[in-house]
């Protein structure tokens, strides 16, 4: 007979009128295993906290996204957005699934090249490309997405200097009926800036305009906005065909599809309100198909989806450090997971599940991180069963941006593993050490010694 579960007693005020018919209960079942690997075992082997990725989930995400688009449009190409998660192992899963690379800096560009992506399949985005970056991209034949006129002029000069025609696209921003409108990247559609840039490219004759790119925003909850954007992009492409007789190779609709995370302040959970990828696909593809392209002149459709393909494949495992009660009576739990490695907790209410069995009682809790900083709050309010120091928790939907934006602060950053299809864990990145932190530090000779 197994030992009966002991939970410390809790005191709960009785609320009348606020209960719904299901009562208040923790919405989550305990998560003891991820893809067949035990949470406790992973923490024992790789330490806590720990980033865990599910290979199966990643592949399923990209495959279902491809299926959703390819069943609606004849020519579709995904490019993995490096900034979302550029652990080489993760990038390569996407490359194995046929995705190209989308990068926004020289560092990412070199990383993609080093991963073995042919440069012609690395889409070079971003507002900050140095002259040397551009020269390299021109030499390699990578598609360069122009962000501003200064870059356009620079490319024009460089093409004369290098004697090679850059393969370029322009980034277009536009009003798609959602607020806030992203107009800081690229050239505006409504004001005619986009046409101005296109005219400049076509009249210099020094560059090959191969595509058009837009990225209407991030975490977009309205698929119809993509329909508007696709329509406007198609309008530009058809206009270019009519004015210059030039057929654009591709329209790049960027990324921004929402993942299943719950935004802070959202009344409903992300899984309930976030559109399926197929709904975005439907909006984009039907807009392009109905835009009036001549037969056989349909441009290819490029997608730089990041967040929606990786977020739910990433988990962050943590351990309870301590429990305490705040002055107002609220329960608080301190975890070893802080906002420095869970950057997204600033805008998401991440789903948190205990990693062990629990009883039927739950309590509203504040989840704090381990940093000695007031802002280190993982969840301001979460309904969880009573947790004891040393218990493990699993934070869901952390695959996007957390690793790339995580910051070494106070403690060292954790390791990351991927669980393969057979349930075996493989290290993607080991836990950082003091050496990693210090190996490019230099201490002047005279500061080496002191007496206390």
């Amino acid at each position: 007979m197994s030992k009966k579960l002991y939970e410390r007693p809790i005191i709960r005020p009785l609320h009348t009128g606020l209960m719904n018919k299901f009562g208040t209960r923790t919405e989550y079942a305990p998560m003891t295993h991820i893809e067949g690997a035990s949470v406790a075992g992973l923490i024992e082997q790789y330490g806590s906290p720990l980033f865990v990725f599910s290979e199966r989930q990643i592949r399923e995400n990209i495959r279902s996204a491809r299926r959703a688009f390819e069943a609606r449009y004849p020519k579709v190409q995904f490019a993995w957005s490096y900034k979302t998660n550029y652990l080489n192992g993760i990038c390569n899963i996407f490359h194995q699934e046929g995705s190209w690379a989308e990068v926004v800096s020289r560092m990412e560009y070199d990383k993609a090249k080093q991963n073995g992506v042919p440069p012609e399949r690395i889409i070079f985005n971003g507002p900050d490309k140095t002259e040397d970056d551009l020269r390299t991209a021109i030499h390699d034949g990578a598609p360069i997405h122009i962000d501003h006129l200064d870059e356009l002029y620079r490319l024009s000069e460089l093409s004369a200097e290098t004697g090679k025609r850059p393969r370029v696209a322009i980034r277009v921003n536009m009003d798609v009926g959602v607020y806030p409108m992203w107009d800081r990247f690229g050239f505006n559609y409504e004001s005619g800036q986009a046409w101005d840039a296109i005219n400049k490219i076509m009249t210099t004759g020094k560059m090959d305009l191969i595509g058009l790119h837009t990225h209407i925003g991030t975490y977009m909850l309205t698929p119809s906005a993509y329909g508007v954007a696709a329509y406007k992009m198609a309008d530009l492409a058809i206009g270019i065909q009519q004015k210059y007789g030039k057929t654009i190779d591709y329209i790049d609709m960027g990324g921004g599809f929402a993942s299943k995370n719950t935004l802070k302040g959202s009344y409903l959970r992300g899984t309930d309100v976030v559109p399926e990828i197929s709904e975005y696909a439907e909006a984009i593809c039907s807009a392009l198909l109905n835009a009036g392209f001549q037969n056989n002149q349909l441009p290819a459709l490029y997608l730089e989806t990041g967040r929606a393909l990786i977020d739910d494949a990433g988990y962050l495992l943590g351990t309870v450090v301590a429990n305490k009660r705040l002055s107002d009576g609220r329960k608080a739990t301190i975890l070893d997971v802080g906002v420095n490695i869970l950057f997204t907790s600033f805008w998401y209410d991440h789903k948190v599940s205990p990693a062990q069995e629990f009883g039927s009682h739950t309590e509203d809790t504040v989840l704090y991180g381990p940093l000695c900083m007031n802002i280190d709050v993982v969840r301001e309010n979460v309904t969880l069963p009573p947790l004891n120091a040393g218990d493990h928790i699993v934070i869901h939907h952390v695959g996007a941006y957390n690793l790339t934006q995580s910051m070494q602060f106070i403690a060292m950053r954790p390791a990351a593993v991927v669980i393969d299809k057979t349930g075996n864990a493989h290290l993607l990145k080991r836990k950082e050490t003091l050496h990693d932190l210090q190996h490019n530090e230099m201490t002047p000779e005279y500061l080496n010694t002191f007496n206390l």
Partner: protein, 723 residues
């Protein structure tokens, strides 16, 4: 070609037409034979001139003069009369009148008969010559004098007697004499020498024709021999040629030469013999020579009868006359293997992306009896599920609400909308087809798409839709327990019509991570398939548009040369590449999915011929791993001797064969966006053993075909395309 040179070419071709040939050389040999008797030769030429003048003067279609079709009957009249009468002014007047009469018979009869798909053969000649024979008897004032003997025998007694002497030594010498004389009698010559010359010329022109003359003659000969029939008509008027002409006509000219056509002759030649002896009895009473009447009757009857078959299988009528039994045979065999596709309307899959066939033909669930030739489509994930968990809602099914596109061009003839989607696992038997579109593609060819999502149909009755046009979305209405698309082809425009077994033109079947290419095939249950999506580089490289010019810098064995090709379209909308230097022509088709060559005429040494061999069939989509195979004409690989032997054997079996394989890879040193490589192998086989083989690498870039490298045992050729 100049107009007058075409007229000039038409002269020897008139002679060749008598033996169902269109070779100038063969015609010239016959012409030479006709001049063995000056009177015969001159008479023949006069009739040809008369026909040419008539055509020009009365504005008939000159094409029929240039190939000799309008002249050969009049020519026979001339040859026949020249052999019977001596040259005189009166004779020439009668000859010209006879030629004109025959010409108009020819024009009228050929037109009338062609409308019924029948050949005119030598009917105009028979009508004319009989009228002349009967008429001349009443005009003794013309003073036409009959001839006594044959000039050739006076001029070349030694050669003639030598050949006759040689023949006399062989056993069956009667038969050989009779064969040679009958062969020459077609040409109104009655001697062994003319027969021998004609036999050699015929052998050089066509092995199958020659073999058929021997075969037909032997059947007739032995038929008489064994039945102890009255041999006299054969011996005295040499009309044994009726067997030979019948044999050529039905053995290899109007019918594709095959073992079956040879078997047919076993029946037809004795019938001819019976006709011959029967008609001889009647005609001898009228004092009219029978000439080729039995041959005319039997061939017209047989061709006419075969046209009326319910199913044109087995014995095949020649569709496009090549004027040489060899070509009729090879081309029909290879065309049948290669271009059966052209007989089907091109239907593609009515969906975009990868779909799964959840129920194929003769399916276990609903594709039965009258409706057995249908397909159900859905979308599956890697694990083979058609839905994501929990699978209780329509939206959980991957295929739900996906676009459905028109499978081909056509008119929307029926739209049925308004049936609600079922809950999962419910079925609606009252409106079992659910929301449905029927599209008419051609007379007797309709496609029907069913179980569509309600109110998702974007077309209305009477609309014209293009292939691949978005017309509706996949739903689950009607007898549909879970979302899927029902697709069938049918011969009638009704919802509920019985299905028609009709192939999908081109599609790719997923086989692990690669694709297999299927052409005019029937998708099977459990296959995951998709339409071919064109690759801009490949589609661009093979967009051979009329008016374009391709210039090649060719380096072979260290020597540089140039070849310039121009692209054309002929009056029948057939596209072809013309090589200026060699005058070679290669016909091709680009149907939007495949580029393939259909035929080649001209110099085998030209680069165009090598290109024709190595781009026999090219898929215009980028699918590495797809293997395209095709047959090649063995004529492209082998020398004259083995080809001649093959010609003899061709109707029965082929020991020379040719094959073609094509794959695609990335081009080394070129980025995938701007360069691809096509690799093809052309192989010639002798009894299934590879004896000739060459490999080609085509480098394809943004400019089109950049470079072609062809390697065989003897060395390699590199051709670069300049502009």
């Amino acid at each position: 070609m100049q107009q007058w040179t075409r007229h000039l070419r038409g002269v020897p071709l008139s002679y060749a037409q008598i033996y169902f040939a269109n070779s100038v050389g063969f015609g010239l040999a016959l012409m030479l034979v006709s001049f063995a008797d000056i009177g015969v030769g001159v008479s023949g030429l006069i009739t040809i001139v008369v026909c040419h003048l008539c055509t020009v003067f009365f504005n008939f279609n000159r094409a029929y003069i240039f190939d000799g079709a309008y002249t050969f009957n009049a020519l026979m009249v001339g040859l026949a009369m020249g052999g019977l009468y001596q040259l005189s002014a009166a004779y020439i007047i009668v000859l010209v009148i006879a030629a004109m009469l025959c010409f108009f018979f020819t024009v009228w009869l050929s037109g009338r008969l062609a409308a019924s798909g029948l050949p005119m053969l030598s009917l105009p000649f028979l009508l004319t010559i009989w009228i002349i024979f009967l008429g001349v008897a009443n005009f003794s004032g013309f003073g036409l004098a009959g001839k006594q003997q044959y000039s050739l025998q006076e001029w070349y007694p030694q050669i003639f007697s030598w050949i006759s002497g040689q023949v006399d030594r062989w056993p069956f010498h009667d038969a050989v004499h009779l064969y040679l004389r009958s062969l020459s009698a077609i040409f109104f010559q009655y001697n062994d020498l003319a027969g021998a010359i004609i036999a050699l010329a015929l052998l050089r022109y066509s092995r199958i024709s020659f073999a058929l003359t021997v075969y037909g003659f032997l059947i007739g000969y032995f038929f008489y021999y064994y039945l102890e029939g009255d041999f006299t008509p054969l011996v005295y008027s040499y009309i044994g040629f009726n067997f030979m002409l019948t044999a050529i006509a039905l053995g290899g000219f109007f019918l594709v030469p095959s073992a079956k056509s040879h078997l047919l002759l076993l029946f037809v030649v004795p019938v001819t013999a019976l006709l011959l002896s029967g008609l001889h009895t009647v005609f001898s009473k009228l004092s009219l020579p029978l000439f080729s009447l039995p041959f005319n009757i039997i061939v017209v009857v047989m061709v006419g009868a075969l046209h009326m078959r319910f199913k044109a299988a087995g014995l095949q009528l020649v569709q496009l006359q090549q004027y040489q039994p060899e070509l009729n045979h090879y081309k029909s065999i290879y065309f049948k293997k290669r271009f059966q596709s052209q007989t089907f309307y091109h239907i593609s899959l009515p969906v975009m992306g990868e779909w799964n066939i959840s129920q194929g033909h003769n399916g276990a669930i609903t594709h039965k009896e009258e409706w057995q030739h249908a397909w159900d489509f859905d979308v599956r994930d890697q694990e083979g599920f058609s839905y994501r968990a929990p699978g209780q809602d329509l939206k959980d099914f991957y295929c739900y609400d996906l676009p459905v596109v028109a499978p081909s061009y056509g008119w929307v003839v029926k739209v049925f909308d308004g049936v609600a989607d079922n809950m999962i696992s419910d079925i609606n038997l009252a409106q079992n087809w659910g929301n449905t579109i029927v599209i008419k593609h051609a007379e007797g060819l309709y496609s029907k798409l069913s179980h569509l999502k309600p109110h998702s149909i974007l077309v209305k009755e009477g609309d014209y839709v293009s292939k691949g046009e978005l017309i509706a979305h996949c739903g689950s209405s009607g007898r549909s327990p879970e979302p899927h698309l029902h697709f069938q082809l049918q011969a009638t425009p009704y919802i509920g019509s019985r299905t028609l077994r009709y192939p999908i033109a081109y599609y790719l079947v997923k086989n692990r991570d690669a694709y297999e290419f299927h052409a005019f095939d029937y998708p099977r249950e459990g296959q995951v398939l998709r339409n071919v999506v064109l690759h801009p580089l490949l589609a661009g490289a093979f967009a051979f548009v009329a008016g374009k010019e391709l210039k090649w810098m060719i380096n072979e064995k260290g020597k540089d040369r140039q070849e310039v090709w121009t692209l054309h379209v002929d009056a029948y909308n057939k596209q072809y590449v013309y090589c200026k230097r060699t005058g070679s022509v290669a016909y091709f088709v680009n149907d939007g999915t495949l580029f393939y060559f259909t035929d080649f005429y001209g110099e085998q040494s030209s680069f165009l011929h090598r290109f024709y061999l190595h781009c026999q069939k090219v898929l215009l989509g980028w699918y590495p791993g797809v293997l395209l195979e095709d047959w090649l004409m063995p004529a492209s690989f082998f020398g004259p001797v083995s080809r001649a032997l093959q010609d003899f054997a061709a109707p029965f079996f082929h020991f020379l064969t040719g094959s073609y394989q094509c794959t695609m890879t990335l081009a080394e040193g070129l980025p995938p966006e701007s360069g691809l490589m096509l690799r093809s192998v052309a192989t010639g086989k002798f009894f299934n053993r590879v004896v000739k083989s060459s490999k080609a690498e085509l480098l394809i870039g943004e400019e089109g075909i950049i470079q072609v490298k062809i390697t065989n045992k003897k060395g390699s050729l590199i051709a670069r395309c300049v502009a």
